[in-house]
């Protein structure tokens, strides 16, 4: 929001500058090809690094990309990898990520990545080549209806039919991606539109007012007062945060509120790191694999302050039994989230930072001890603390994550795929910065983590990047080892190898009478250490608990390229606590015998 305003200013400045520079030509604008206009648009409004794969219908754009001195391009091995990398790049930098793909299969390969960005509200802009306009609709070679395909998974999309529309479309696309509730944008560009000519006038690329789109919604201050009053008056308040807090840059304001009022705070998977998970006020993650204290506290709470979250089904469990005793205040930037799943008593649409700042002014000095409530929560901590120590020399996956946590600091970025390893990473690793955990929350995309690590490492070259993954997830995009080796990215991949699609196997054990249909995948799965060596990276295998620390250290210290630590973990381990699907959060189970 504030960002967009600054952009308006910069662009006005640019406009004035270029007018004075090009003088006579300025009125007519600068002649250029559509392809050059795309690149120029990205140079002006987009990131410095873009991801993608070249192909026939996007060659004019790549030809211009090759001439650009401002943009760096990373070629991935599969378009899905490029989309995840650009998504993670956006999450780490806070700038929109950019991905290129050619028409047809190039574009359709992007779709999982775009859907992933959509579900996690990540600002991703995809530029796809399209067959020339006269060939559209004829089932031409490598033609697919990109606009139609991407409709359900984009915040907005474009099929640009005239070169002259490129400047405004590119600018609008970036503006839409990053403002309001961020989300992916797709710009489909027929090849003849890329090769056609246009005049780039600065005024074409600008827009005074964007009709039909409201990036910033004014916060209802009366409702915020109600929240302040509710928080102060409550005996058993709980704060519940989601990814929106970090996206709004409001972590600091959140922690101040939590400290000022001595509030217990829980978080969605996406919110981990926006709240410092090491803070004593943090009571663990909420939801299906949330902590005992968090799920108990929300169930017993009399005032729930949910902010920057869409209260999704993995978080609420059975909705009528979600925070049944609580007055619920729900803050989100997207008006459509109000009442979509949970009907709040106090709905507030707006930016999380704005709301938290307003709250600070209203709650100062409202310190309340709430010893009874905290004692109750501490009791749940004692009762439901996980034990990762027993099991002798057996290598437990939870222990792998714990040890990794010991060996890394808050600079480290952790990415994950989806499944058991993801939940263990969420449960046993500390996060204290919003971009420290990059994970696929909404779509649950197996294979997200490793290409995301590539995007994160490119975005933050100086920071350690670790991809915690499983043997199922890793192989869904293992081909990107090529990219990591080529770009010499020192990513550490920690594979929790349990020989199965573990989360589904866990469900089979618990809810399908242990019929393990098609979930045991070890046969045929290669040695990840040796595969990585073959690609040109470093491979380490850890088979016993005793080798764990040194194995992880060896990989973390390797800086020449990607390294893999293949951990042969106890295959029978499952993720607990667990709220069975459709149950109330409070009715979590703690083990197989509990089901």
């Amino acid at each position: 929001m504030v960002q967009s305003k600054q952009n308006e200013k910069t662009s006005t400045a640019t406009r004035e500058r270029s007018n004075s520079k090009e003088e006579g030509a300025s009125r007519k604008g600068k002649r250029m090809s559509g392809a050059r206009a795309v690149i120029k648009g990205i140079e002006e409004y987009g990131p410095e690094v873009v991801f993608g794969i070249i192909g026939g219908a996007i060659m004019p754009i790549y030809d211009e990309l090759g001439k650009s001195e401002k943009l760096q391009h990373i070629t991935t091995t599969h378009e899905q990898g490029a989309a995840h990398a650009a998504d993670a790049y956006a999450r780490v930098t806070g700038k929109p990520g950019v991905v290129f793909a050619t028409s047809g299969p190039g574009a359709s390969n992007l779709m999982t990545g775009i859907a992933n960005a959509y579900m996690d509200s990540s600002p991703l802009v995809g530029f796809t080549g399209q067959v020339p306009t006269p060939l559209i609709g004829q089932d031409s070679f490598q033609e697919v209806d990109v606009r139609g395909m991407s409709d359900p998974v984009t915040k907005h999309n474009y099929l640009v039919m005239k070169p002259k529309d490129i400047p405004s479309t590119v600018r609008e696309g970036f503006h839409l991606a990053k403002t309001g509730r961020p989300g992916p944008i797709v710009v489909d560009l027929p090849k003849d539109v890329q090769t056609g000519e246009l005049s780039w006038r600065e005024s074409d690329a600008g827009f005074e007012e964007f009709e039909g789109y409201e990036a910033e919604i004014e916060v209802d201050e009366k409702a915020v007062e109600e929240i302040a009053h509710g928080l102060s008056a409550a005996e058993r308040p709980v704060v519940l945060i989601g990814g929106g807090v970090g996206q709004a840059g409001a972590s600091k304001e959140l922690m101040e509120l939590v400290h000022d009022l001595q509030l217990p705070v829980t978080s969605s998977l996406m919110g981990l790191g926006s709240v410092d998970t090491r803070d004593p006020h943090f009571i663990g993650m909420i939801g299906m694999h949330g902590s005992g204290p968090a799920n108990k506290a929300v169930a017993k709470s009399d005032f729930l302050f949910a902010i920057g979250t869409r209260l999704d089904d993995r978080m609420t469990g059975n909705v009528p039994e979600f925070a049944p005793k609580a007055k619920i205040a729900h803050v989100d930037i997207d008006p459509a989230e109000m009442g979509k799943i949970v009907q709040p008593d106090i709905p507030v649409t707006g930016d999380a930072k704005r709301v938290l700042t307003l709250l600070k002014g209203l709650t100062e000095g409202g310190d309340k001890e709430r010893t009874g409530w905290w004692n109750e929560i501490k009791g749940w901590f004692k009762k439901y603390s996980p034990d990762t120590e027993n099991g002798g020399s057996v290598l437990k996956p939870q222990k792998v994550v714990e040890t990794l946590n010991d060996l890394t600091d808050e600079d480290t970025i952790v990415t994950t795929g989806v499944g058991q390893h993801q939940m263990w990473a969420a449960q046993f690793h500390d996060f204290s910065r919003p971009e420290q955990l990059i994970t696929s929350g909404g779509l649950g995309t197996m294979g997200f983590g490793f290409p995301a690590a590539i995007g994160a490492q490119v975005a933050a070259p100086g920071r350690p990047v670790v991809s915690v993954t499983g043997d199922g997830s890793f192989q869904m995009n293992i081909q990107e080892l090529t990219t990591a080796v080529r770009e010499e990215l020192p990513i550490t991949i920690v594979v929790l190898r349990n020989g199965s699609l573990g989360m589904v196997r866990q469900w089979q054990q618990l809810f399908y009478e242990n019929r393990l249909v098609e979930t045991l995948i070890d046969e045929g799965t290669p040695s990840f250490a040796r595969v990585t060596e073959a690609y040109g990276g470093k491979g380490v295998t850890v088979a016993k608990k005793g080798e764990l620390r040194s194995g992880l250290e060896e990989a973390l210290n390797y800086q020449e390229g990607p390294s893999v630590v293949e951990c042969l973990v106890a295959p029978e381990e499952n993720v607990f606590p667990m709220v069975p699907a459709g149950a109330a959060n409070e009715d979590f189970i703690l083990g197989e015998d509990d089901a």
């Binding site: 409709d151 099929l159 009709e211 039909g212 997207d334 008006p335 459509a336 009907q343």
Partner: protein, 170 residues
């Protein structure tokens, strides 16, 4: 007790561009919204189209439909006209089986409903009926007895009457 499902007329001003209708009708389908009728046409400003949407559902569902529509970049404004004074019309072309023996009877019915005869053939009459959906359906019911061969309906179009008080709802 679940609130009764009612029909709610919505009017939306949208950008008159290709792909908009597909995106919005896709939105209804994928969000599971129950749309009773949908009609679109260009407005006096060719940059915009007006969409008349009749939604079936309770208040909560209606609320979500309005919000999800509003969220779309191509949608300029959405208004729920359930509790606002508005004009609602539907046009129906009804091809009725008609020989010489019952033609005049059909024309009489058409007159009573202030409908028009749009075309007459050797063994059929096409009746053009305009009005509220209820009126059009009532005429259809009466014509049924002569044997309706085909029907084409526009779906409801709605327009707000001069707003005395501006409703806060968009």
């Amino acid at each position: 007790m679940p609130e009764e499902e009612q029909l709610h007329p919505l009017t939306a001003l949208v950008k008159n561009e290709s792909g908009v209708l597909s995106r919005l009708s896709g939105l209804f389908a994928r969000r599971g919204f129950n749309i009773d009728s949908l009609a679109v046409g260009e407005t006096n400003n060719p940059d915009y189209s007006r969409m008349s949407i009749t939604v079936k559902g309770n208040r909560d569902i209606l609320d979500q439909v309005v919000k999800q529509l509003n969220k779309q970049v191509d949608v300029i404004s959405v208004k729920d006209l359930s509790e606002t004074s508005h004009v609602e019309r539907e046009l129906s072309l009804i091809k009725v089986h008609a020989g010489i023996e019952n033609r005049s009877e059909i024309i009489e019915l058409t007159d009573i409903f202030r409908a028009k005869v749009a075309d007459v053939g050797k063994d059929y009459v096409i009746v053009e009926a305009t009005g509220s959906a209820d009126k059009v359906e009532a005429l259809e019911d009466l014509l049924e007895e002569f044997g309706i061969e085909e029907i084409a309906r526009t779906g409801r179009v709605v327009l707000e009457r001069a707003a005395k008080k501006k409703s806060k709802k968009t």
